[in-house]
């Protein structure tokens, strides 16, 4: 289940990419989920846990992955209970967030309205208004009412 909280919230990580650089484990990078996400978002190939082949930047370290992919990997593997700011992710990460939430309860923090329109199905619990939305349109209508960002 995907849970969304808009605005500042306790126990959240505002800039997940920096947090990722200091907590990630090698096995997260070579997991099939990460390999696919890195290929889709960053157009890059995982050579090993500490080496990525980027078509734009050449051979790069794991710390040079995009902020969006780093945040997705945290959402998938981090077990600290932290809530990650999904506003560090572009809309091209939206389908991956939904994908993760199908496998585990995932609470994300948003400081803007993320575009989930590309997701085939969408369901989320909006913590601010204590309401479950069952479609992208319902989510949009609900998010527009919320003051917190």
């Amino acid at each position: 289940m995907l849970k969304i909280v808009f605005g500042d919230v306790d126990n959240s990580i505002y800039h997940p990419p920096t947090y990722f650089d200091n907590v990630y484990l090698d096995e997260w990078i070579t997991d099939p989920f990460s390999v696919k996400a890195i290929k889709d978002i960053d157009k890059s190939d995982v050579i090993g846990p500490r080496a990525i082949d980027s078509p734009f930047l050449g051979s790069i370290s794991t710390k040079e992955l995009s902020g969006g992919v780093k945040t997705l990997i945290l959402m998938r593997f981090d077990e600290s209970g932290k809530i990650f700011n999904a506003s560090a992710c572009g809309d091209n990460c939206a389908k991956w967030i939904v994908e993760i939430s199908k496998k585990k309860d995932l609470t994300i923090n948003l400081h803007h309205i993320m575009d989930f329109s590309a997701c085939e199905t969408f369901e989320a619990y909006i913590i601010n208004t204590d309401k479950t939305v069952h479609s992208y349109q319902e989510y949009l209508d609900e998010a527009m009412k919320i003051e917190e960002r």
Binding site: F56, L57, G58, S87, H112, D115, Q137, M144, K145
Partner: protein
């Protein structure tokens, strides 16, 4: 600081080339488009200069700031172009907005947040586009593209007009609207979002000052994509409408209308 500045930032792998036209430019868009790469190039060049292997071509000094030094960097900078990454939480604060209003710099801010405290134009919100290899086959060429382009003409009359302004702008549009059209004032740009939601299914025209409406654009744009009966009219400002009307004669007027950024 006024006018337009052309900036080229590059190393052997990537080249960014773009123009900055106003005091606040926002960069957002998909992940992995090069926003942080651009930021890192500017930051490294600031520390090490040309010895970094990075070159920056610009008539003004390009700098960066962060959460811990933002106040001192702004205070000590004059006529600089300052790049700010999305990790800098201070950009959301009233203190930051006041500080940059008092300064004489341009700011390039990487963020997906609205930042309603900052008056930036809908025309100065960009994404980064990778156009492919350029000149040297090893180098990727990146440029900015405007995220919100609105050239479509509205052909159907609105049932409801929502005007951002509560003073002269609202009075003007309320006076010239058709009899069957409801005209209401939102009482500020940040209230438009919640008001438009009340007119679901109706033909709504929103009128606001484009020069300061950037903060509201992202969410309204998303909403409009799902609600095609909503239209936007975003002139530079109400004053711009008056100048463009032809009521005021003068040679300087045409120049002001064409390039407002040179006169603010």
């Amino acid at each position: 600081m006024k006018g337009k500045y052309h900036i080229i930032v590059q190393n052997a792998r990537v080249k960014f080339e773009f123009d900055i036209k106003r005091n606040i430019t926002i960069i957002r868009g998909d992940s992995a488009t090069g926003k942080t790469t651009l930021m890192n190039l500017v930051e490294t060049h600031e520390r090490l200069g040309d010895e970094s292997g990075i070159t920056i071509s610009c008539d003004k000094k390009c700098k960066t700031l962060n959460n811990s030094n933002w106040e001192s960097v702004i205070e000590q900078s004059n006529e600089c172009i300052i790049f700010i990454d999305e990790e800098t939480r201070a950009i959301k604060t009233v203190e930051f907005a006041e500080k940059i209003r008092e300064s004489n710099n341009y700011y390039v801010i990487i963020t997906r947040e609205s930042l309603p405290n900052l008056p930036y134009s809908v025309e100065e919100v960009y994404g980064i586009h990778t156009a492919g290899k350029y000149a040297d086959v090893r180098q990727t060429y990146n440029s900015f593209y405007r995220l919100y382009t609105m050239d479509n003409k509205v052909t159907e009359a609105a049932e409801v007009i929502i005007v951002e302004d509560s003073n002269s702008g609202f009075e003007f549009f309320n006076a010239v609207k058709g009899e069957d059209i409801q005209c209401i004032s939102a009482g500020g740009k940040t209230r438009i979002r919640s008001i438009v939601n009340n007119y679901n299914g109706q033909k709504v025209l929103i009128i606001a000052d484009g020069a300061a409406f950037g903060s509201e654009m992202s969410e309204l744009y998303l909403y409009m994509m799902s609600n095609p009966k909503i239209s936007l009219y975003l002139p530079e400002s109400f004053e711009w409408i008056i100048l463009a009307s032809g009521l005021i004669d003068g040679k300087r007027i045409a120049g002001i209308i064409e390039r407002p950024e040179d006169h603010m």
